[in-house]
């Protein structure tokens, strides 16, 4: 996981913990957060303007003091280190016990847990920053930002049906996000998941409307497998070019996306899958039994979401517990070192690109079998690009991708309604997405800078300690 490379920034998870004065700052901070958030919510929801805001602030403040602050301190104190010698509790980033000087050894599990927490905080903070900037844009253009966001989140998360639709929107981008993340983690800048998605969708649709005699389960399984394979093979093309011929993958994957889009459009527009008399460029509808069962009433949320969740776990295991995952991470960290330690870099790149394309193919198959029931030319609304955003946002970790995809699903699904219920153009969602990417790109880099600075101070400190 990328997370383990970021050491524990203690200030971020617990700016306040030990010491007499610091605790009060922490409690005050949580009271303030509770008050602000609740005030904003009450004001927006009840339209009782300032009375609602005041009530909200008081309630939120009390809630912050009684609920949030203890919860936070409880959580943070879980991370405390306990000295094996004298039993003193101390801050988790301490290297030695403050009382007896006993040196702590790092517990990797704890470290990973903390890093995951930090990542979660980062994801939320990045999205909040982008929403804040989007809010400023809204206010500048004379719209009510709070009201817009209220509509956005009410229709993204407010009702069971809205939540189901958000999960529906999240489904394809979980797959594409995972596919992009696994390639990024191996140091391959694969922008081509979109192309794999189209290939996978096309083949899944073909299976779906050709083998209509098969019973439901084998047919669905076959369609998913075929779609995944088609995506994976499509991903192998730039993979092969990179691994064997050293062709830069960024440009080839971008270009091959267009090739895939044009090719699949041809197949349904005038090629073999063309259906005369169909108004739009679509293939035949897939067999009834191949259509994935829906999970909730009055929403298209379907079984492919469950498959997506299973895939998250599978990729987690793949990346952290298998040889391929280990080799991919090593290649991503330092290809030269990986090569000299006996890893076949070319083979790893090929495999990673195959898996990455496989996931793209699954995304396409899921959309065809669960949502559209046919292959429509250019049906993807930038799922591949959303996948890139999410992979960056989730810092290439499967859980991060899942969280990012869920948030993005809500944003997308809620975004379609803001145009209906407010006079704000839907394009706001695109702007917010662009801002998120910008913030992530810059944040990644700040992380990089701090790592470099630390490396430098370590280097400077080394001779001094040697002299001592």
């Amino acid at each position: 996981m990328a997370t383990q490379r970021t050491p524990l920034p203690y200030w971020l998870i617990a700016p306040i913990l030990r010491g007499s004065g610091d605790v009060w700052i922490g409690i005050a901070l949580w009271i303030a957060i509770g008050a602000l958030v609740t005030a904003a919510l009450m004001r927006a929801r009840h339209r009782a303007a300032w009375r609602g805001a005041l009530l909200g602030a008081v309630l939120g403040g009390v809630g912050g003091a009684l609920l949030l602050a203890p919860l936070w301190f409880g959580l943070v104190s879980l991370l405390d280190k306990r000295c094996a010698h004298c039993g003193t509790q101390t801050r988790p980033d301490a290297a030695t016990c403050p009382r007896c000087g006993h040196a702590f050894t790092e517990s990797p599990r704890l470290d990973a847990f903390v890093a995951a927490l930090v990542n979660l905080a980062r994801v939320v903070m990045t999205i909040e920053l982008a929403l804040l900037a989007g809010g400023i844009i809204l206010e500048l253009s004379g719209k009510d930002a709070l009201d817009t966001y209220r509509v956005l989140f009410e229709w993204g998360l407010g009702t069971p049906r809205a939540r189901a639709n958000s999960l529906l929107a999240a489904t394809p981008i979980i797959f594409t996000g995972l596919g992009t993340a696994i390639a990024f983690r191996a140091g391959i800048f694969n922008v081509g998941v979109e192309g794999s998605l189209y290939m996978g969708a096309l083949l899944a649709a073909w299976i779906g409307f050709t083998f209509t005699d098969l019973p439901a389960l084998p047919l669905i399984a076959l369609a998913f497998v075929a779609g995944a394979l088609a995506g994976g093979l499509w991903g192998l093309v730039p993979g092969y070019l990179k691994a064997r011929l050293r062709v830069d993958e960024v440009v080839t994957t971008i270009m091959l996306n267009y090739v895939a889009i044009e090719f699949t459009s041809y197949m349904v527009q005038s090629g073999p899958f063309f259906v005369p008399g169909m108004a739009n460029a679509m293939s035949k509808t897939i067999a009834k039994q191949a259509q994935l069962p829906q999970l909730v009433e009055r929403s298209q949320l379907n079984a492919s979401f469950i498959l997506a969740l299973v895939t998250v776990v599978a990729i987690m295991i793949l990346m952290s517990r298998t040889r391929l995952g280990f080799e991919a991470r090593m290649v991503g960290d330092n290809p030269l070192f990986a090569r000299w330690s006996g890893i076949m870099v070319g083979r790893t790149i090929l495999l990673v690109m195959f898996v990455s394309g496989l996931l793209g193919g699954l995304a396409g198959a899921g959309q065809v079998l669960g949502v559209h029931y046919n292959f429509t030319a250019r049906f993807s609304r930038g799922f591949g690009f959303d996948g890139i955003t999410i992979a960056l946002l989730g810092r290439n970790s499967p859980v991060g991708v899942l969280i990012g995809a869920l948030l993005f699903g809500a944003l997308r699904s809620g975004g379609t309604t803001i145009e209906v219920f407010t006079d704000v153009p839907i394009d706001l969602v695109d702007i917010v997405q662009a801002l998120i990417i910008f913030f992530v790109a810059i944040d990644l880099n700040l992380d990089f800078l701090s790592r470099r600075r630390r490396a430098k101070t370590d280097r400077d400190a080394a001779p001094a300690s040697a002299a001592a």
């Binding site: 800048f189 050293r246 440009v251 090739v259 041809y266 702007i431 662009a434 910008f438 880099n445």
Partner: protein, 299 residues
């Protein structure tokens, strides 16, 4: 099929490609892959229409398109060079920002969605070349285009001179070739990168202006239609040499013009394959280039 009108259309279609191609070439030469060409071009197209309408003069609109392009180029450079964001990521973000931002502004400012064609905005006057227009075939082909078409032709030798005959151009190429060596030689690496990206942004703005006010005075959402990527394809195909890039752009323009004709005439060759062609050609060109490089190195 009327060959003259086909070539005429080729020249018209390839002009923005050439301009953007020169922009992509500059950033290629300084060692940066510029994904953001698309977004800069779209913003330029929008700026040309908006400012052309608001200021009452299409030419001022074109000027503002250049300014907006330069501003976006500077923004991109700030993110990529100063804040050291990932090149591809920042480029994607800029493209999103441009598609979302132009559509958003169009809705906010003019309460329009989809297409913006303000009344009273005129397209750039077509240029007729005095003597040339009397020659039967050549005149029909070469004369009577929008002025930016001719600008695009002038830009090709200008870029060539800038890159290969001027000191600054040499510095830009040096930075692209080997940044550390250039730095040691006293060249400001960041300065050259900024310069190339900002100049590229200006060219993109100009190309966008050609799209929006060159032929029809209107702006459509996503009207650039991936031309930025096609131009990038041309740059790669020509290994970033100005004249070859222009030729590649003309070629792609020819295919696009041909495809319109074929679409009208409904032939056997599906036009999706023609549309695929530039992209496939890039992949092939990249493979050829890299195989040749490997050969030279010796396997």
């Amino acid at each position: 099929m009327d060959i003259v009108s086909l070539l005429d259309a080729t020249l018209r279609i390839s002009a923005p490609l050439i301009l953007v191609g020169m922009a992509g070439l500059l950033s290629y030469q300084v060692g940066l892959i510029n994904i953001a060409l698309e977004g800069m071009m779209l913003s330029g197209a929008f700026a040309a229409v908006v400012f052309g309408y608001e200021l009452g003069s299409t030419w001022l609109g074109v000027l503002m398109a250049i300014v907006v392009g330069a501003a976006l180029g500077a923004l991109f450079a700030l993110a990529v060079i100063t804040l050291r964001a990932n090149l591809i990521v920042a480029g994607l973000a800029l493209n999103f920002l441009a598609t979302g931002g132009t559509a958003y502004l169009m809705d906010i400012l003019y309460n329009q969605s989809g297409t913006l064609a303000p009344e009273g905005l005129r397209k750039l006057p077509a240029v007729t070349i005095p003597l040339l227009e009397d020659i039967p075939v050549l005149g029909e082909m070469l004369s009577g285009h929008s002025p930016l078409v001719y600008v695009s032709w002038v830009m090709v030798p200008l870029t060539s001179i800038f890159l290969y005959r001027m000191v600054v151009g040499g510095h830009i190429r040096a930075v692209g070739e080997h940044p550390e060596a250039a730095q040691t030689a006293g060249i400001s690496v960041q300065g050259m990168q900024y310069l190339a990206l900002i100049l590229g942004g200006m060219l993109c703005g100009l190309a966008g202006a050609h799209l929006s006010v060159g032929d029809l005075p209107l702006f459509r959402e996503r009207m650039t239609n991936d031309r930025g990527f096609i131009a990038l394809a041309a740059v790669y195909f020509a290994a970033a040499r100005p004249r070859l890039t222009a030729v590649a752009c003309l070629l792609f323009g020819f295919f696009e013009a041909l495809q319109f004709r074929l679409q009208l005439r409904d032939t056997a060759l599906p036009n999706e394959f023609l549309q695929m062609l530039p992209y496939l050609m890039v992949v092939i060109a990249l493979v050829v280039i890299s195989v040749r490089k490997e050969w030279r190195k010796g396997w």
